[in-house]
Point group: C2
Chain length 248, copies 2
């Protein structure tokens, strides 16, 4: 575990952050306790290089820094859209694929320290490079957030990228359509379709209640002012539930 | 969309935040632009009550505020543990079940505004109340974060709860064991087991490479200093991948 940073490495990292619009003089002025360049270094050390000094814990934090930054951006910029659309946008914007593309604009690969075996591997194994780039960028976000305590130092450079990707995604018609997403999932994975059942209607309040069934199991219940709205809600819950069962 | 808050409602919300250790006088002193009690009100309005003035967008933000607060807490408190264990802890700590338990300690239900139909429903439909409580607490976190711009106003009251839950979870032997988690998932959902294949060994670097297969498809590749470590890595990637396919 190094206690100081090599001056040459620090100059490299200063250049990287400057490419991201974070100037050394301003950073060091804004952070009275001192800008911790060693933590930035650690954020770019892949676990294959060292099992004790690497970015695995920073990546763990970075995942949530990213999600918060993107959520704040989406609410500010697209607050007039339905939450279903914002969620669908977010799922795409925080993906490894998007992150790797952003990382490439800063030539992040040049700054990442990894084992030689992993370096060869990441050139040969499909998807490996994308994961390394995405994880390193997340870890870098965590380092910047941990040092500054403020997401504005992330959003300053991340927002313009996200804006570009979001605009492209908004051209996709199915975005935020949970029924379609659920259908595509069950069809692709299990070659079967979910079934919607109308279970009740409250005439007084004009509310419809539906359930969505798959594989002899009710995966979600929804309610709404129309059958379509109730089905969308049920499908959203079903998707979320399937995701949770996969996660645990 | 109300432009001011009813004084009686504000007094209620002041009491709620005081229960969480956030005193009105201190909050209003710390936030020079004024503490936005109307946003706290909105955080506790369920979408069933109003389609235009409700907490759905705040909940969308709250989800990531929660994840960040919990991640920072885990790294600070359990930084000596493996990231796999931290991830497993986090998945449990941010669940609706955990959040609803925390919400109940503040009697959050008393402060939530929802339609009468939904109020009856949440008493009768299993799991409905838990979801309402969890979502409202997330929205409340988003409101507090948006107003203060600092997670410390969340962590002050959230950390002690998370500490209690984390201590209980750490007694579970399988926590952070991806191989076991993957096995349980595929066994439960599809009644079949994943298969691990040793694909290469780098004698020079003493590194093992394995793949995990399920359903005629390679779901993850792992490498490590032992076959067991490589299998754990492959299983973690496979779990993550299955989760992503469910999500999109």
């Amino acid at each position: 575990m190094p206690s100081t940073i090599d001056p040459r490495r620090q100059r490299e990292l200063v250049r990287l952050l400057e490419k991201m619009g974070l100037e050394q003089t301003k950073l060091e002025r804004d952070i009275p306790s001192g800008f911790d360049w060693l933590l930035v270094d650690q954020a770019l050390v892949h676990p294959s290089f060292s099992t004790t000094y690497n970015n695995d814990q920073l990546e763990f934090i970075g995942d949530s820094v990213l999600k918060l930054a993107v959520s704040l951006f989406l609410r500010e910029k697209y607050g007039d859209k339905k939450v279903g659309v914002l969620s669908a946008l977010r799922a795409h914007l925080v993906s490894d694929k998007t992150l790797a593309k952003i990382a490439r604009t800063y030539e992040l690969k040049k700054y990442i320290v990894l084992s030689e075996a992993m370096r060869n591997d990441s050139q040969n194994v499909q998807g490996q490079e994308q994961t390394v780039l995405a994880n390193s960028l997340e870890a870098l976000m965590a380092a910047i957030y941990t040092i500054t305590g403020d997401v504005k130092f992330i959003r300053r450079w991340l927002d313009p990228h996200m804006q570009n990707f979001a605009e492209a995604l908004l051209e996709i018609p199915a975005l935020g359509n949970y029924k379609l997403a659920l259908l595509e999932l069950t069809q692709r994975r299990w070659k079967r379709l979910p079934e919607y059942r109308n279970v009740a209607t409250s005439v007084k309040n004009n509310i419809f209640f539906v359930e969505v069934w798959f594989d002899d199991r009710c995966w979600g219940q929804g309610q709404g002012k129309s059958i379509k709205a109730a089905q969308q809600e049920a499908a959203a819950i079903a998707l979320d539930q399937m995701q949770k069962e996969i996660q645990i």
